[in-house]
């Protein structure tokens, strides 16, 4: 008969089988729920990150990367390749964007967002669509004029934040004004992604309207006045 050793000592890892007698058993088990293993990781250091993790904007790659809290804290100041996306949401209910001001921007849709691309040195406007985020032309002079009159727009941090503008019913009670929020750029892309996934037909359909309404309700709760 086999000599009995207690081979449990020093077995590493959270996944080591509790019995330890035949260590290979854990590999033979039916496919493990991969949720834990598939968890997102910090793209800088490889640490596992939870659901509410931070994001960094990679200014060179023009992309958003997931980050652990430690790495996110390293890149809160501008001046490097990475920049941490802040989590503030701001609005300015006392100083709404009027229909006339909106018209000056010549944005043809009801939902749009704006962010400063520091690489291009300009403001980029985008709107969600079934094809993802579509960029549109923007009159920069008009933006500057608007920013002068609206501290919320002037507060926009380059690359890491966006101004979300939603106009028209059913999102606004007053059809002549728009809901305007300063939001983290990752929230903005998450919203655009959700809208794209659920887009049906010409105007997006009920599901898109529901997602947008819920997102706006969430932003309303998170928002503080500028």
């Amino acid at each position: 008969m086999t000599t009995i050793h207690n081979g449990r000592g020093g077995l590493p890892g959270p996944a080591a089988s509790p019995g330890g007698a035949t260590g290979l058993r854990r590999f033979a088990a039916p496919p493990r729920p991969r949720a834990a293993a598939e968890k997102e990781r910090c793209e800088l250091c490889g640490e596992q990150v939870g659901d509410g993790h931070a994001h960094l904007v990679d200014l060179q790659g023009r992309s958003i990367v997931c980050a652990c809290t430690g790495c996110a804290l390293l890149f809160t100041r501008p001046g490097g390749r990475y920049r941490t996306v802040p989590d503030r949401v701001r609005n300015d209910p006392g100083n709404p964007l009027t229909e006339a001001e909106w018209a000056q921007l010549s944005v043809p849709v009801g939902i749009a967002f704006f962010f400063i691309n520091s690489d291009l040195g300009r403001v980029v406007a985008g709107y969600p669509s079934p094809a993802g985020v579509t960029e549109c032309e923007l009159d920069l002079a008009a933006w500057d004029q608007l920013a002068a009159a609206h501290p919320l727009l002037a507060a926009l941090e380059p690359d890491v934040e966006a101004i979300l503008v939603v106009r028209g019913q059913p999102y606004t009670t007053d059809s002549r004004s728009a809901q305007v929020y300063l939001i983290p750029i990752d929230t903005c892309y998450a919203l655009a992604g959700a809208l794209r996934l659920n887009w049906h037909g010409f105007d997006g359909g009920d599901e898109v309207r529901r997602i947008l309404s819920e997102s706006l309700a969430g932003l309303r709760q998170r928002a503080r006045e500028i």
Partner: protein
Amino acid sequence: MGDDGNDARVAGERVEALLAELRARSGPQAADVAEELVTCLVRLYGAGLASIMAIIGDESRLAALLIADPLVESLLLVHDLHPLDTDARIRRALGRLGTGAEFLGVDDTGVAHVRLASGCGSTAAVVEQAVADAAPETAGVAIAPREQPLLQITRRPAGAL
């Protein structure tokens, strides 16, 4: 097997040690990939063993020959393919220990209950290990208190012969 330690337990320990080394050197992502790689291979061979056992079917003579080989037996245990059921394996293992430990059964939570005999050498650790080896699918081993021994061995009273 035996001298070269080539059984599922030794291989399992080696795999764990290598994964730990990889995790320390190359980070958790590399180690996770390696874990999946090991899983992939182990499951392939497990599927092969399952087919072999299915082909053998009720040929108890062949099954007995297979489990007489410690390497083959250890692999069958890894893949839950052992022809003997849990109770039979635990009884067999306790019988091999020869220390009179009594198997009381496996409860709903998968814990095997064993009562130690009063003889020497029947230590909880040895029995636990034997049960865990014979039935790795059990969740643990609970040792029931010994029954009162028939003969209490005490110190010789002072002055007695």
